[in-house]
């Protein structure tokens, strides 16, 4: 009896070890799998041409990702520019100033909104933000726009990353111990001075993490952006031009990719690029975070 139990214990341990190591390696398997499938196109064309050429004509065999890379950067930039200041102000308000009833009431709302699917955000963008940009925002800046633009994509993305940035930042701000605040207040600092010089400073690594999480969600977000950003394969020259981000390119062409030579390879290369950018981003930010954390302790 005893030996059976010990055997089960050891067997389960081995099995779980294998599964743990296996799932820890998923990242590498993904990168290797995508690289393997995108090799056909990498063998026929230099990587620099693929990344920096502006000509996207799959039928002629020209695959230049530059317009899509720029589209992604523009849309993500607009989203982060809108979301970060708003979210930080809101997070500071909710954690430092708001009454706890307000906090108790807003936090479930924000959690619910984090769970809303991106297609629903996209639909809301089509119904609400597209006319708003077309009729009000673009004329206000003296530009004309169809409404399906980098600006629209950026606004929708910003709303999508609100919950995640606010949730993480509020948690980080709440984790700053109260005695730290009390020490600052007892030295005669005002509430705002305490927040600015003491609380925000202590919470900085966590806030950077929150922004990075929001940024990486915005970077790879597909469906919502696909529905509102316009999808014209040209480098946008203003925020009211249509853009065509990389994820939208991949999702939009799944149907025809097997009928044109090298097309599937090009799209899987695009997803490999997306994967690598997000990975580099996450790894660097985690390392920065660890260093900042160590310097605070």
């Amino acid at each position: 009896m005893r030996s059976v139990r010990l055997f089960a214990d050891r067997l389960a341990g081995r099995l779980m070890l294998v599964l743990t190591v296996g799932s820890g390696l998923i990242v590498f398997v993904m990168a290797a799998g995508l690289y393997h499938r995108s090799r056909p196109i990498l063998e026929t064309r230099p990587l620099a041409e693929l990344l920096f050429s502006q000509s996207w004509h799959p039928l002629r065999g020209e695959f230049g990702f530059f317009p899509f890379i720029m589209g992604t950067l523009w849309v993500t930039g607009v989203a982060v520019g809108i979301a970060v200041p708003l979210c930080l102000l809101t997070a500071v308000y909710l954690s430092e100033y708001a009454h706890r009833h307000v906090r108790a009431w807003t936090s479930p709302l924000i959690d619910v909104l984090a769970g809303i699917p991106s297609v629903v955000y996209g639909m809301w963008g089509v119904l609400f933000i597209v006319p708003l940009v077309k009729n009000h925002v673009a004329p206000f800046f003296g530009a004309s726009s169809t409404g399906y633009s980098v600006m629209t994509g950026g606004i929708v993305l910003a709303v999508m990353v609100f919950p995640i940035i606010i949730h993480v930042s509020v948690e980080v701000l709440r984790s700053v111990p109260d005695p730290v605040r009390e020490a600052s207040l007892s030295l005669g600092a005002t509430k705002w001075q305490t927040v600015k010089h003491v609380v925000l400073r202590r919470a900085m690594p966590g806030i950077i993490a929150a922004v990075v999480l929001g940024l990486s969600r915005a970077f790879g977000e597909t469906m919502a952006v696909l529905m509102v950003a316009g999808n014209v394969a040209r480098v946008p020259s203003s925020v009211f031009d249509p853009g065509y981000p990389l994820p939208a390119l991949i999702a939009n062409n799944y149907g025809e990719m097997l009928s044109i030579p090298l097309y599937d390879s090009a799209l899987l290369l695009a997803s490999l690029v997306l994967l690598l950018v997000v990975l580099v981003f996450n790894v660097i930010s985690r390392i920065i975070l660890m260093k900042v954390e160590r310097s605070i302790q």
């Binding site: 799932s23 998923i26 909104l113």
Partner: protein
């Protein structure tokens, strides 16, 4: 002194404005889904599959997509639960909590958590090509399971880490093996957190479109086999919204309402379950 007071006042106003702006944006989303969806919603939407000419505005419903989404997210969740329980219990019970393997696994899942869902879709597609599968329910389940694995693992890890070491000691001192301790003591203690992790991951799985677009495909019939394509709600919304016919677009609003209601129900259930199971916890 006056300057600091003015600065504080300015920032308080800015903070209030931005909080109100964000909350109103979020409320506007829920209201517009509700207001647009309710008039278009009717019983045949949720009890029928699309009939001929559905996408031109004729009769039918989206039962195929509702069931497809439930099957797909359900299968993916089961797969992800098995995997993440193994990983999390190994890291916390078998391996030393601060070992290299634990740190590597956590880091790896943190990084995976940020990978966009379209990349999981593309990777799922390469797996399917490798296995010789066509677009199918099974392919979708694999892609979505991979997508929700990191968030489920990290969420479970957070709660299982909180299990006090005295509980382990008590269990070991009674002669239980590590496996018995893990399954009967640790899982029991962390059950509320595990349930929340599972439900949130299920919600994420049911709402994601980008990972299933390559892998699960789309069909007008109810899925009856793992190897056949399956329709999903997010894609149904996307396709219906993409048609130029107003009646079909109306149905997209109704479908979005259905999806949102499912997600809201999952949130509510997870809160209720968390409250109910908290009483089994040793504090």
């Amino acid at each position: 002194m006056r300057a600091t007071r003015i600065e504080e006042a300015v920032f308080r106003v800015l903070m209030t404005i931005s909080t109100l702006a964000i909350l109103s944006a979020l409320i506007v989303i829920l209201c517009s889904v509700l207001l647009k969806g309710l008039p278009a919603l009717n019983l045949s939407m949720i009890t029928q599959t699309p009939k001929g000419g559905y996408y031109l505005g004729r009769e039918g419903g989206i039962l195929n997509a509702i069931l497809g989404s439930l099957y797909l997210a359900g299968g993916a969740t089961v797969l992800a639960i098995v995997l993440s329980l193994c990983v999390v219990l190994y890291v916390n019970v078998y391996a030393h909590n601060r070992s290299r393997l634990a740190a590597f696994t956590r880091f790896s899942f943190d990084v995976l958590w940020g990978v966009p869902s379209i990349v999981y879709g593309a990777f799922g597609f390469t797996i399917m090509v490798f296995l010789g599968l066509r677009t199918s329910l099974l392919g979708g389940i694999i892609a979505v399971a991979l997508l929700i694995l990191p968030m489920m693992c990290r969420a479970m890890d957070e709660v299982i880490r909180m299990v006090p070491s005295e509980l382990y000691d008590a269990s070991y001192s009674l002669g239980a093996t590590r496996l018995e301790t893990a399954l009967t003591v640790v899982v029991r203690q962390a059950l509320p957190g595990i349930l929340t992790a599972v439900l949130i991951s299920f919600g994420r799985g049911i709402g994601d479109a980008a990972s299933v677009i390559f892998t699960a495909g789309f069909t007008d019939s109810i899925p009856y086999s793992l190897l056949r394509p399956a329709a999903t709600l997010p894609l149904a919304i996307f396709f219906q919204l993409g048609t130029p016919i107003p009646e079909v677009q109306e149905r997209a609003y109704a479908s979005a309402l259905i999806l949102t209601v499912i997600i809201l129900m999952i949130c509510a259930v997870s809160r209720i379950l968390t409250r109910r199971y908290t009483k089994h916890i040793v504090k």
